[in-house]
Symmetry: C2
Subunit: 633 residues, 2 copies
Amino acid sequence: MRTYSPVGFSHVAITGPFWRERLETVLARTVPSQYRQLERHGILHSLTLPQPVPPLSIPRDQRNLTMQVFWDSDVGKWIEAASYALTHRRDASIESQIDGVTELLSTAQMPDGYLNCWYAGREPEKRWTNLRDNHELYCAGHLLEGAIAYFQATGRRRLLDLMLRYVDHIDATFGTGPSQKRGYCGHPEIELALLKLYHVTANRHHLELAAYFVDERGRSPHYFDAEAAARGDDPKKFWAKTYEYNLSHKPVREQDKVVGHAVRAMYLYAAMAELATELDDTSLKRACEGLWRDLTGRRMYVTAGLGPAAANEGFTRDYDLPNDSAYAETCASIGLIFWAQRMLQLDLDTRYADVLELALFNGALAGLSRDGERYFYENPLESAGHHVRWEWHKCPCCPMNIARLIASVGGYFWSQSEDAVALHLYGGTATTVEVGGRKVAIREDSDYPWSGRIRISLDPERDAEFSLKLRIPGWTKQASAAVNGLPVNLAAIRKGYLDIRRLWRKGDTVMLDLPMSPERVYAHPLVRSDVGKVALRRGPLVYCLEESDNLGRRMQQLRLPRTADLRLVPRPDLFDGIATIVADCAALDTSDWGGELYRSDAPRETTAALTAIPYHLWANRNAGSMTVWMPEA
Amino acid sequence: MRTYSPVGFSHVAITGPFWRERLETVLARTVPSQYRQLERHGILHSLTLPQPVPPLSIPRDQRNLTMQVFWDSDVGKWIEAASYALTHRRDASIESQIDGVTELLSTAQMPDGYLNCWYAGREPEKRWTNLRDNHELYCAGHLLEGAIAYFQATGRRRLLDLMLRYVDHIDATFGTGPSQKRGYCGHPEIELALLKLYHVTANRHHLELAAYFVDERGRSPHYFDAEAAARGDDPKKFWAKTYEYNLSHKPVREQDKVVGHAVRAMYLYAAMAELATELDDTSLKRACEGLWRDLTGRRMYVTAGLGPAAANEGFTRDYDLPNDSAYAETCASIGLIFWAQRMLQLDLDTRYADVLELALFNGALAGLSRDGERYFYENPLESAGHHVRWEWHKCPCCPMNIARLIASVGGYFWSQSEDAVALHLYGGTATTVEVGGRKVAIREDSDYPWSGRIRISLDPERDAEFSLKLRIPGWTKQASAAVNGLPVNLAAIRKGYLDIRRLWRKGDTVMLDLPMSPERVYAHPLVRSDVGKVALRRGPLVYCLEESDNLGRRMQQLRLPRTADLRLVPRPDLFDGIATIVADCAALDTSDWGGELYRSDAPRETTAALTAIPYHLWANRNAGSMTVWMPEA
C-alpha cells in the first residue's frame, strides 16, 4: 500500500552548490555531447530504415549482434535524459533533435504498432523470437520512458502516442491468453517503464501488464527454453549457462539470493518493489526485503558498487568483493538507487535511504567525469593506474543512465503522504507540496555533503498540521534538531526518521545538525579482499587515495595506524572546493632495499601524511593508482 | 668458458627420501598414465598420417589450430620423460611404446628429412610459412630431446637417426646463406635441443645452428614481418600485438627487460646462457646477467612462479605480482630451473642455485599432484578454493615437463671441473666423478629439505687433492661445517660456496649444518599485492595456509603478529611425514557482526593457531582456500 510518494524532480528546485554544479554540467555538457556521440557512432543512423541484414549465419558471439540490437534503448535513454534537461530549461535545438528521432521512429513503426528499429529494419519476420538475448522489450521500455519524459517536459504527444500504440501491441502479444506468448524480457526494464506509464495514464492495463511480466518470470515450463527450441536452438546451450544471469531461474517470489547480471537484477527488484506498493502485495514485499538483506549484508561494495565479476557483469559468491577487478557497473549502482527509492515507499526506513545515498554519492556518481563528457563503465575500488575514463563505449548504456539520473536527481529528495512530508537527502532543494490540506513551500539549505548543518524553512499558505519527517542517516552519531531554536526530543526517531508533528506556521525553521566526522570503515571479516584493511568515509562520501595527492607511486605503501587522528582539511584549490581527509600514517621505506625482491627483515617504516579525496572524484586528474581500502598499520 | 659441467642424472643415484618418493611416483604412475592420456586424447593418433585438413578458411582464433599444431612436442616430451624413466629402470612396455611412436614418425618423415606430423599430414605445402605461430621448430626441438634421451637410455639409434636427418634439413633450410630462410621459431626450444645434441655428437654444426637461431632473433628487417607478408597477412595484425610476446622484439643482446610469454623467455635465456658458456661469449653473458637481475629483482613470485598474466601467459610490469590471479605456469618455473642451471655453469654463485632450488621445490613441484597423475598449469599464490588439479589439459605442456624434470632431477645436484666438485642441492644423492685425476665416489646423506644436517662421505680410489665446493644457501644463517670432526673456517665461502680444498682420503667425512628455522618473508614494498603481508619459509620450502588445517572458511581471517614465535611441528600423519610451521595468531572474530557488511568499529580479534604446510603440497586434499601471503597483525 502506498503511503508515501516521491515528489517528482520537476517540482523540486536544486538550490545547493553540490548538486547544482553536477546538474549544470549535465545540462550544459553531458546531454549535448551525448547526442554528438550517438550521431558519431552510427547509433542515430541505425534508426533510419531499412538497414542491411548482418550475416546471421555466423555464431552470435562473433557478430557483435548485441552492439546493435540494443541501440534503440540508448536513444530512448538519451531522450529521457534530454527531456529532463528540458524540464529544467527548454532548448529548441534539443527539442528539434528529439522531434527528428521521433520522425525516424514513426517511419520504423510497423502497421500493427511494433517498433524496434533493429528488427523492423533487418529481419522483421524474426521479431519476438529471442526475448532471452535480444533486448526488444528492454528497448521498448527505454523508448517509452523517453517518450513519457518528453511529453511531461513539453506537452508534445507524438512520441508518446507512437509508444502507446506499441504498448497496445505488446499488451496484445504477451499474456496468459490462449493466443498470447507467455514471454518476458531477458533484460528487465519494460516493467519499470510500464509503471511509469501507469502513473501518467492511470490506465490499469499498463499496471497489469507490468505485473504480468514480473509474475511470469521464471515459471515452468520455462519460456526461454521453449523459445530457444522454437528457434531450433538447444536451450541447454545458453551462452550465459544459467538463467540466474537474467533472473529467470525461478519465480520472483522464490528468489532470495541476489544473483546474475547486476543491472538486470536491480531493474527487476525495483519493479518488484513498486508493484508490491501499487498492489499491496505482501509476498512481493517479503521477497524484496529478503533480497535487500542479501545484497546489503553480503554482496555490495562499500561504495554501493554492485557485481564483482566481468564474466556475467554481475554477482558471484557471498563476500566475494575483490577491489582491483571489481566490475561494479555504473548502471548497477543507478539501478540500486531506483530499487532503494521504491523500498522507501514500502517502508520509510533510513536503511533504504542510507543505501540510496551511498549509491548516489559514490557508486553512481563516480561514473561521470568532472567535465561531464567522460565515463566509467566499471568502477573498481583499487587501480594500479590503468583505468582511464573514456568518451564512448561500444555498449554505451552507462552514459545516458548517469545523465538521466543527475538530470532528475531532485526526485530523490522528498516524499509526501496526505499528512506528512519526508526529506531523505540534503544539499539544498526547495519544493511546494500539498500536505495537511494546505499548500506548503519548504526549502532545505545546506552545504551538504560537505557539512551536516541543515536549515529547513517552512512556508505554509496557512497554518497547517502535518508531520515533517527528517532522515537521520545511519552514519551519523549524536544528531540534534531544533524547531525555531527549541531543541527537539530525538526519542521520536523511528527507523531513522525524526518525526516532527506540529502546527506549522509561516517562517518556522528547523535546524538539523548531522555531525559528520571522518571515520574508519571496516568490512565483515569474511570479505577476503579487505582483511587487515580500512576505508575512510565522512557522511555520505566514501573516500579514496589517489597518486596525485600521495607520494606518487609510493602511495600503495601507506599504512594507516588504527589510532591515527583523521583530520578534515578543506581544499578550496581542488575541484572547486572539497573537504579532504588527512592523517599521519606509516609509509614503507624502500631506501634500504637493494636489488632483492624478498627478504626476511620486515620493511622499515617512515612517517608520512595521507590525503584522501571523495571516491566519486577519482580519475579526474593524471592517471595513477587509486585505492579505497588501505592496509592498517 | 665452461669451468663446471653438471654431472648428468644418469650418474647420480637418488638415495634420500624426499626425491626418491617423487621419482618413484613419476616412474610408477606419471609416465605410464601420461601415455594413456596421450592415447585417450588423440595426440598419439595425430601422428598417423594422412590426417584431414582442418578448415583453414576460418580465422586462426576460431579453429583451435594450435591445439594440434604443437602435439608433436607433447609426444617428444613424453618420450624424453619416459626415456629418463628407462635410464632408472628398463621397461619393455615403455620401450615398445616409444618404438611404436618411432615407427609412426618414420612414416611421417618426408623424403627431404622434414618431420612434422601436423604439416606433413595436412598441408605439407605450407611448411615453414608461419614460424611465428605454428611451433614447427619447437616441435622439432622436443622430438630431438626425446630422441637423444631414448638413445642415451637404450642405445637404440633409430629415432635419433630420423631426427639427425631432420636436423640436417633444418640446417640446410635456415641460416644466412643466400638460399636460406633467415627464420627462427616463435617459441624457443630448438636451441636447447641442438645444444644437447652437440654434447652427444660433438658436431660443431649443431652448436652453430643453435647459435644462429639465438643470434638471428629480433633482427631487422624482422623475419616475422616478412613471413606474414609472404603469407598475405598484415604483419601489423599480429594477434599477440607485440613481438615481446615471443622475445623477438629486439636482438637478444639488447634485451634487458624480462617480457613476454614466460616459458618462451626462460627457454631463450637458458639457451643464451649455455651458448655464452660454450662460446665464451661475454656479450651474451652480460645480457643474461641483466635479465637475471631484472627477473629476480622485480618480476618473480616468492615461489619462483613466473608470469602474472593469463593474457600473454607471461610478464607484465615491474612489481606486478598479484596473488590470486597469478598465472605462474608450471613450465615457466621449470624453464627457470633450466636457465639457473646454465647460469651456474657461467658463474658458481649461490644466487643462481638459490633460485634453482626455490623453483624446484616450489613453483615447479607444485605442478604435480601427490599421486603423480594430476596437474596444475597455473600456480596461484592465493585461491578462494576454485583451483582444482586436472587430469589433462587442452594444452598438455606442463605434465610431461614436470615428469621429465623429476625423472632427471639428479642432474641438478652436482657439477664438476677438473679439480673441483660442487654440490648445489642436498637431499641424498651419490655419484662417482673423475676429479683431481682420480675416480672419487661421493655420497651426500640428509633428510633435506626437512633437515639441514648433511653428511658427505668421500671415497676416492686413491688419495686425491681437489676442491669440494659446498653450496651455503642464501637463506641460511650461521652455517657450520666440519671435516672429520674438525671445524672448517667459513671465511672461505665465495659467492655462497664453501671451498674445502685438501687431499681427500677414503672415509673422509664432511658434516655440514645449514640451520633452517622457520622464518618470515617480506616482499619489496613496491609489490602492491603484498603490502602489509608476510609469507613463511623454511630452508628451500615456501609455506602456505590451507583450509584443511586452518579453521575452514575462517582461514582468511588469520593475521600473524610480527612477534609471534614460529614453531616447527613435525606431522608424521600428513603426506608421509612433513614439517609444518605453527604459530599463535590473531583471528578476526565474526561473532559480534550482525547482518551488516561494513561498520566503523574494527573487527574484534580472538587468538588462534595457524598451521602452514609446504606450498608444493597444496590442493592435494579437499578443495578450499589457500594463501601464501597472510596479513600481518
